[in-house]
Symmetry: C2
Subunit: 203 residues, 2 copies
């Protein structure tokens, strides 16, 4: 398969979601353009890069297209192949993420939640196993956790991120307000509402 650019990946992922929300059996690039606001050529190019060639001249077959996207992102993987993730910090935000159903049907599985407050992890009810931060290293290694969602208080953000990295984590979704200083090979994505709003404002 051809190399897919990063912007194209993001669009394809959204496309898959849109298709999953759609009842149609076939769909054309023009229709997708109307649904997304992206150029139709862009959409055709994105899909073309998947090299699935379903739907020649007749619009894309929704099922086959979804499958092709999922394949491209290895989203089909069985339970065993899923990428283990964890949430670090179970304040309101961490708890909310823990309860959300985002991970359903994704190539990721939430396998642990961590908090320093031992009381809290005992009291909290959750489908996801909860552990004390004391067990962070052991659990990350034994569960082979690859990605962490960081939702600790700002003061602890850098410290925790450093620990996570030293235990072998590959990437961090950073919900704190701190810009983390980490080795280049670690992927960090900052989820910061103010950055997002500023981007919108100055669009």
């Amino acid at each position: 398969m051809k190399k897919i650019s990063y912007p194209s990946k993001k669009r394809l992922l959204i496309l898959e979601k849109i298709l999953s929300q759609s009842a149609k059996k076939r769909i054309t690039s023009v229709e997708l353009s109307a649904l997304t606001g992206w150029g139709e050529a862009t959409i055709r190019r994105d899909i073309s890069n998947l090299e699935c060639h379903n739907g020649l001249s007749n619009g894309y077959e929704v099922g086959a297209l979804r499958e092709a996207i999922n394949q491209a992102f290895q989203i089909e993987g069985t339970e065993a192949e899923k990428h283990p993730c964890c949430i670090v910090g179970l304040g309101k935000l961490g708890e909310a993420l823990l309860e959300s159903s985002v991970f359903e049907g994704s190539p990721f599985e939430l396998v642990a939640g961590f908090d320093t407050n031992v009381n809290k992890i005992e009291i909290m009810k959750s489908a996801v196993p909860l552990f004390a931060t004391l067990d962070l290293e052991r659990k990350i290694r034994s569960l082979k956790i690859e990605y962490a969602i960081l939702a600790v208080p700002d003061e602890k953000a850098q410290f925790m991120a450093d620990r996570l990295v030293s235990y072998g984590i590959k990437g961090i979704v950073n919900y704190t307000n701190v810009i983390l200083k980490l080795p280049k090979e670690i992927c960090v994505e900052n989820v910061n509402t103010v950055f997002i709003l500023t981007g919108m404002m100055t669009r």
Copy 2:
């Protein structure tokens, strides 16, 4: 001032945050490169576009640079000039966002939180005024709210987004798992942990 590209804007915003976390008085593009992982030429180009020309041949003067960035994004604005925002949906996630201090020192001000559960908005303690969703239109118009953070249950996401748009909102930060179908002129940014993780994984 020159037109600043969108990627450059994002970097400058992060740069400002990094500078605010730094104790240094002067800083060079090489040092910033080490802190961020971005190319030094990229950093110099970003800053050059601000046309502030502080720091010729001696690294940038941190204070002046921060000011230049803030200026560029109109972040200095007085209280009265801040852009009013609201949170719609006060579940765990909405509550967490409500309590966070992200908005401090930003060009945005959180002026309202909305929830359909009238009981909840009466019981909840918050520095931000809370209202029933019944008052959504009235409050958005009277408070001149420009941006909304959407944190309602998925089932209500599209419906609420449509309402927000019809009341004149300019942009939505979408924390739900639904891909919203909205007019092109409305800015939407999807905050979806799985999308972010997938992006990391396939980097």
